[in-house]
């Protein structure tokens, strides 16, 4: 059985923000999700204040004010760039075969007793693939930890939760049965949606939002499938009918994509997409795109 290494950055989004804000290196900071809705990353200091992962932002606003927590809206462009740098550095590091540093944990080096202790400390809801509902279901059966799940009766698990949960139990028993996908299979559906920044009353705003998301989704599909869009069908007839038609129209779409890539997203839009952006997400405290935008480079004196 092969060994798998999991590489993870501590509080990744917060850490990325701290690169350009060393003044916050020991401050409680949080990063918010789309729409500034929920907390998706917390520094250790913010964790110590009791702020939970996924906490809804407006609920913690009083605490944020009292404790001086610094809040960031998600700066996805920055995080993606930093993540790519981490991958690149890691590849370089591994290639040079440096000795192991602290901060690595080898599960395979543990004895059976040690593994049991570790698994007993992991709540069942923390396991990948066990969401809130499944976690509640398992706990009803008396399964509260990863250890308990590992040792659960497989036929019983399979009958109550299905084959996917059975595979999870087997993996906990170190039986490899979930294949690593080297190349993700072509997506059957593309999800491109956001919740709205404010309540929308006007149907035109809704139309505009949908037109915008369709464009974004189409770009994603074209990048994967080349130029043919035929597999996806719109239920309704779009006013600009050619978006979902066959390859004949695809050179036009390819040009549209190229223009938007070169001059910036949204340079050319579908006519339904007016650009009023009343529906676009709140991102009131976003840091500059330090590494991806010439106009937002950090400044030194």
């Amino acid at each position: 059985m092969r060994d798998l290494a999991l590489i993870d950055c501590n509080n990744s989004y917060c850490s990325a923000e701290r690169i350009f804000r060393p003044d916050l290196s020991t401050a409680p900071i949080v990063v918010l999700s789309n729409n500034d809705g929920a907390v998706v990353s917390r520094s250790n200091e913010a964790k110590a204040l009791g702020i939970k992962m996924g906490e809804v932002y407006f609920k913690i606003k009083p605490l944020v004010k009292r404790a001086g927590v610094v809040v960031f809206s998600s700066n996805y462009a920055l995080y993606a760039d930093i993540s790519n740098r981490v991958m690149s550095l890691l590849a370089n590091f591994i290639a040079k075969k440096h000795p192991r540093s602290k901060g690595t944990f080898d599960y395979n080096a543990l004895s059976e007793r040690q593994k049991n202790s570790v698994l007993a400390c992991i709540p069942v809801g923390e396991i990948w693939g066990v969401g809130r509902k499944l976690s509640a279901g398992l706990q009803d059966m008396g399964i509260h930890s990863a250890l308990a799940l590992r040792d659960a009766n497989i036929p019983l698990i399979r009958s109550r939760f299905g084959v996917v949960m059975e595979r999870t139990v087997r993996e906990l028993r170190e039986e490899q049965c979930i294949e690593l996908e080297d190349v993700p299979p072509p997506r059957q559906q593309i999800i491109c949606s956001r919740s709205f920044g404010q309540h929308l009353i006007d149907i035109e705003d809704l139309r505009e939002a949908v037109a915008h998301f369709i464009t974004t989704a189409s770009v994603k599909l074209r990048k994967q499938a080349g130029v043919i869009l035929g597999a996806i069908h719109s239920q309704h007839t779009a006013t600009q009918g050619d978006l979902f038609n066959t390859a004949i129209d695809s050179p036009l779409m390819a040009v549209l994509d190229q223009i938007n890539e070169k001059f910036g997203r949204g340079t050319i839009r579908l006519s339904q997409d007016h650009g009023s952006r009343r529906w676009s997400m709140r991102q009131e405290q976003k840091s500059p795109a330090y590494t991806t935008n010439w106009d937002e480079l950090p400044i030194c004196h």
């Binding site: 060393p22 003044d23 790519n84 740098r85 981490v86 690149s88 550095l89 370089n92 390859a247 050179p251 330090y290 590494t291 480079l297 950090p298 400044i299 030194c300 004196h301």
Partner: protein, 141 residues
């Protein structure tokens, strides 16, 4: 004869031959062709530890760093005495020459109108990285 039809863009050739098919003798260049200079490689712009900063002010004018210039800063270079570095001072980034040989440690400007920045014993000096290149634009568009 039929009137000529426009060539469909889908059929347009996407690959240009690297050299023409010889009708006479082959060009002696073909065996020696090399890739053109790539500025990204030369300036290490794609290095994972390389970042860009914009300069404000003329505290380093003596070393030809001007207001509005763009600095290439490498976090993987160990800062040594005499290096020009970008450092954090009072919550702002500053570009200065690093003086590690004297006590206390100082950040030196290259402009008479500016004073050196001193770091006393208990003060922490945070260096973002070492400046490897300065990009100074000559022709304004």
């Amino acid at each position: 004869m039929n009137s000529p039809r426009p060539l469909s863009p889908l059929l347009a050739p996407t690959l240009l031959a690297a050299s023409s098919i010889p009708a006479g003798f082959p060009s002696p260049c073909t065996d020696h062709a090399v890739e053109a200079i790539d500025l990204n490689d030369y300036l290490y712009l794609n290095k994972a530890s390389t970042y860009l900063f914009r300069v404000s002010g003329d505290s380093m004018i003596g070393t030809s760093i001007h207001d509005g210039d763009t600095l290439i800063v490498d976090r993987a270079v160990a800062p040594l005495h005499g290096h020009i570095v970008v450092a954090s001072v009072d919550g702002d980034w500053t570009v200065k020459r690093l003086d590690l040989k004297n006590k206390p440690i100082r950040l030196l400007p290259e402009n008479e109108r500016f004073k050196p920045i001193e770091f006393k014993d208990d003060q922490e000096l945070t260096i973002f990285g070492v400046v490897t290149w300065n990009l100074h634009r000559l022709m304004r568009t």
